[in-house]
Amino acid sequence: MNELLTVLKKNVREYGMYIALAVIMAVFTILSKGVFISSRNIANLLNQTGYIAVLAVGMTLVIIIRHIDLSVGFLSGFLGAIAAVALSQWNWSVWSALLFVLALGTIAGLLTSLPVARLGIPAFVASLAGWLIYRGALMLVTAATGTIIVTNETFNALGNGYIPDFFASTTFLPGLHKTTLLLGVIATVIFILGQISDRKRKLQYNFEVLSNGLFVTKLIFLSVILGLITWILSGYNGMSWTVVIMLVVVLIYDFITRRTVVGRHIYAVGGNPEAAELSGIDVKRITMAVFASMGLLSGLSGILFTARLKSATPQAGNLFELDAIAAAYIGGVSAAGGIGSVTGSLVGALVYMSLMNGMNLLGTDISLQYIFRGLVLLFAVIFDVMTRKRKS
C-alpha cells in the first residue's frame, strides 16, 4: 500500500489526467443515464476525437520545442479540400490522393519552419501568416462549387467506416464485433508480454522495479481497462478506421519521442536550446523536422475530417488549431517547453472531446459548453504548474 502511494505521488501529474478522464466519463454517464458510455456513443466520441488527436500529437512536439503552429487548422481544411478535389474532380485513385495530400502537408510544414528556423522569426507570426494563407487557399478551392461532395466509398470509410468482421456469426456472441474482440485480446496479450520482458531486462541491469504484487495488480487493472474498451467498442460496429489510424499515429509518435535519438534531441532542444546546440544537436534541423511532421499530420487530419463529413466545406478546419493546442496543454505539455508526451496529449484530446460530446448529449447550451471547456483547460494548466512546483 505504501509503495502504491509513493508511485502515485511520484506520477501524480500523469495519473491525475487518467483520473480526470475517468471522473468526467463517470459524471456524464450518470447525468445522461448511461447513454454516454453506450457503445454507439463511445464509438462516435472516438471518431470525433480522431482528427483533433492527430493534430494534438503533432502540436505536442511543436510546443515541446518552444514553438507554436497556428496554421494547422486551415491547413488541414485546405488539404482536405484538395483531397476532395483530387477524388471528385480529377478522378484520382484514393491512394494517390492520400499520398499527394500527405506530401503537400509535409511541404507546407517545412515552409512554415523556414522563417522560424533560418531567420529566427517567432513561430506565432510565421504560422499566423500560414493561417491567413491557407484560409484564403481553402476559400479559393471551394469558391467555384461551394461544398465539394466526396462519393468515393473507400475514402469516406476512413472517417465513417469500421473494420470488417471476419468472424461474423449469429450464434457465437451475437451482436458483438468478433474481430474487434480478437484484436483487443491480442493487444492485451502483447501489452502483458511487453511489460514482463521490460521488467526482466530491468532486473537484469539491477534497476528499480515495482514489487511483484503491485506489478501483477497493475497488469490486471490495465488489462481490465483494455478489455472494457474492447467490449464497449465491439458492442456497436467494432473498431472504426479512424480509431485504427489514431492509434497507429500515437504508437509511432510515442515510440519516436521516447525511444529514438531524434526524440531525445527534440526534448533537449525544448529543455535548453543553447545547451542542445553546444552538445552538437542541429537545432535548425530538429525545428524543421518537427514542423514538417506537424504539416504531415495536418494533412492526415484534413483527410479524416473530410472523410467524416463526406465532403469538403469552406469552413473546414476552423479553430482546429486551438482545439489541438488546448488538448496538448490539458495533456500536460509545458508551455515553457521541454516537457510533454504524446500519450498525454491523446488523453488530453479525449478529455476535451468527452466534455464536448457529453455536454451535447445533455443538451447543454453551446455558450456554457465553451465556458466549461475554458475552465477545464485553466484548471488543467494550474494543476500542472502546482504539481511541478511541488516536485522541485
Partner: protein
C-alpha cells in the same frame, strides 16, 4: 560637514555558502575620482550593489553614511533619489527609443495629461552638453556607437541630479579613442562637482585618472591608496590585488605532456556581426597532447569568444586565420562537426547553456553522444542507463539515482554531470571554461583530480579560468588573453600571479 561624501563601514554580505564581502570599509571623499580595483570575484560589483540598494539594507551587515547621514536603501529608486547613480557594464538603454526618450525614461516631463516633448528635448540638449555629446536628441540609441551610448547613460544619470556616479567597468567594451574621451568626460564631471567611483580592470587608465584607489581582494579591503601621499604604480597594485599565497589545494600531476602538437591556431581573428566589433585579433597558440594549457585573462578579455569561435562558432562570428587540429586544417561550422572531430567544450555557465536542467542525469550524460547508446537511431534504454550509472560511480556524483533531475543537484555535482557528458564523447581536446566556478573547495579538488586523470590518459585540456591560483596550480603552460588577443605565454613552473596579471591588464 565632513569632506567624505560616502562612508561604508563594516559591510558584510553573504550568499548561501559564500562570504562575498567581509567587513569591508570604503571611504570616498567629496569631488574625487575614486577607482575600485581587484580580481574577478573580489567583491567590487557586490559592494556597489550594496551601495545602490540592489541588495536591500536588511540583506547585509554594516552601515552606509552618505552625505553625513546614515542611509538605508530598499531598492535602486531609493539610492537614485538620494543622488547615487550607477552605470553597469551592460548598458540599460532601450535601443529602439530615441536619446531623449531614454534619458527621460520614467521621469518624463508632463504638461497636463500629455508629455512635453519640446521641453524634454531642450533638457536633453543641456544634459548632452555636460558630457560634450553633440548629437540630435531624437536619434535612436541603436544608431549610436557603444562609446556614445555610454555617454548617454551618463547624461541619463546626470538628469537625476546625481552627486555620486558609479561606473562599473565603463571602458571594457570601448576602443582606445572612446576610452580617452570617457576619461576626459569624467574629469569634466569632477569639475562640475560630481564624485565618481569607477571599477576597472585596466590599470593604466586607473593610474591615469584616479586620485584614490581602493583594492579589494577576496571580499576584503586590502588598502586604500592616496595618489598624493603614496607611491603607486602597476606593480604595487598587482601585488595588492593578487597578494595571497597559493595554498596546496592542487593534486600533484605525475604525467608530462608530450611534444606532439594537437591543436595549433595561427592569426585567428573573429568579428562579431551582431555587436559590430572585432572580438579576437591575431590569436596564436598551441596545445600539445596530454597538456593542460591555462587560458587566463580578465572577464571580457575574449577567452570564451576564442573557445566558442574554435568550437563550431555557434555565434556566427566571421573568422579568419588557421586552425590545425590533429594535423588537419579545420574550420568547424557547427559544434557537431567539432565534436565529431574530437573537440569538446564545457561551457562556463553550466546552468544557462551547459546542461538541460529539467532533464535527468541519464539524459544529460548521453546528450552529446546518443550514437554511443543507440542502434539505427533507436536508443538502447538499458545501455544508456548502465552508462549513466557507470559515470555516476566513477566520478562519484552524489545523487539518489540517475533519474534525478539535474536542477536538483549541487553545483559541484552538476559540473561532474557536464564532465561526464563530454567524457562519454571521448574527445582529444576538452576546452574547460571555468571548471570550478561556483563550487565548493571539496568538489574543486575532485574536479582537479579528474583533470589529472584525463591528461594521464592522453587527453589535452584547454582550461579557461578567472582564478589565478587555479591557473598557476593546474596548468603546464599559461596563455594570457587581453583585449581579444594573446598578450603572452608563460611556463607555469616559473610564472607568478604578478606576471600573469601584468599581461592580463595590458591593452
Amino acid at each position: 560637514m565632513s569632506d567624505n561624501i560616502l562612508e561604508m563601514r563594516h559591510i558584510t554580505k553573504t550568499f548561501p555558502g559564500v562570504r562575498a564581502l567581509n567587513d569591508v570599509n570604503f571611504v570616498v571623499r567629496r569631488g574625487e575620482i575614486h577607482c575600485l580595483v581587484g580580481e574577478n570575484g573580489a567583491g567590487k560589483s557586490t559592494l556597489m550593489k550594496v551601495l545602490s540598494g540592489v541588495y536591500p539594507h536588511n540583506d547585509y551587515e554594516g552601515e552606509i553614511i552618505f552625505n553625513g547621514k546614515k542611509v538605508e536603501f530598499s531598492n535602486i529608486h531609493d539610492s537614485e533619489a538620494a543622488g547615487i547613480g550607477i552605470i553597469y557594464q551592460e548598458l540599460a538603454l532601450v535601443p529602439e527609443m530615441t536619446v531623449y526618450e531614454n534619458i527621460m525614461l520614467g521621469h518624463e516631463i508632463r504638461r497636463g495629461m500629455t508629455i512635453d516633448i519640446q521641453e524634454m528635448i531642450q533638457k536633453t540638449k543641456e544634459l548632452l552638453e555636460r558630457v560634450r555629446l553633440l548629437l540630435n536628441p531624437s536619434t535612436k540609441v541603436k544608431d549610436l556607437g557603444i562609446g556614445k551610448q555610454q555617454l548617454v547613460e551618463i547624461a541619463k544619470a546626470l538628469s537625476r541630479n546625481v552627486s555620486l556616479l558609479i561606473l562599473d567597468e565603463p571602458t571594457a567594451a570601448l576602443n582606445e579613442d572612446d576610452c580617452e574621451n570617457l576619461l576626459n568626460i569624467l574629469r569634466l564631471l569632477k569639475s562640475q562637482g560630481v564624485t565618481c567611483i569607477m571599477i576597472s580592470h585596466k590599470l593604466k587608465e586607473v593610474l591615469e585618472i584616479a586620485e584614490t584607489i581602493t583594492v579589494l581582494r577576496d571580499g576584503q579591503t586590502i588598502c586604500t591608496l592616496d595618489r598624493q601621499k603614496d607611491e603607486v604604480n602597476e606593480q604595487v597594485l598587482i601585488k595588492h590585488m593578487v597578494g595571497r599565497s597559493i595554498e596546496n589545494i592542487y593534486p600533484p600531476r605525475i604525467t608530462k605532456p608530450s611534444d606532439e602538437i594537437l591543436l595549433e591556431v595561427h592569426n585567428w581573428s573573429a568579428f562579431d556581426v551582431n555587436l559590430g566589433r572585432q572580438v579576437l585579433h591575431n590569436v596564436n597558440f598551441h596545445v600539445c597532447k596530454g597538456e593542460v594549457v591555462g587560458l587566463s585573462g580578465l572577464v571580457g578579455s575574449g577567452r570564451t569568444e576564442l573557445a566558442r569561435s574554435l568550437f563550431g562558432n555557434p555565434d556566427g562570428y566571421i573568422t579568419t586565420g588557421e586552425m590545425i587540429f590533429k594535423g588537419k586544417k579545420q574550420v568547424f561550422r557547427h559544434p557537431r562537426h567539432a565534436i565529431r572531430a574530437g573537440l569538446a567544450y564545457a561551457t562556463e555557465d553550466r546552468k544557462r547553456n551547459g546542461l538541460v536542467l529539467i532533464q535527468s542525469i541519464q539524459h544529460n550524460i548521453s546528450l552529446a553522444n546518443l550514437q554511443g547508446v543507440s542502434k539505427n537511431g533507436i536508443v538502447n534504454e538499458e545501455l544508456d542507463k548502465q552508462n549513466a550509472v557507470n559515470f555516476v560511480r566513477s566520478l562519484s556524483i552524489k545523487t539518489p539515482g540517475i533519474h534525478q533531475l539535474v536542477m536538483n543537484l549541487s553545483g559541484g555535482n552538476q559540473q561532474k554531470v557536464s564532465v561526464a557528458k563530454w567524457l562519454f564523447v571521448g574527445p582529444d581536446l576538452l576546452i574547460f571554461d571555468e571548471p570550478t566556478r561556483g563550487i565548493d573547495v571539496g568538489a574543486k579538488y575532485e574536479i582537479y583530480t579528474i583533470i589529472n586523470d584525463l591528461v594521464a590518459k592522453g587527453m589535452s585540456i584547454l582550461m579557461i579560468s578567472s582564478e589565478l591560483p587555479e591557473i598557476l596550480g593546474m596548468s603546464d603552460r599559461i596563455c594570457v588573453v587581453a583585449s581579444g588577443t594573446i598578450t603572452g605565454e608563460l611556463d607555469a613552473k616559473t610564472a607568478t600571479q604578478e606576471a600573469v596579471m601584468r599581461l592580463a591588464t595590458q591593452y
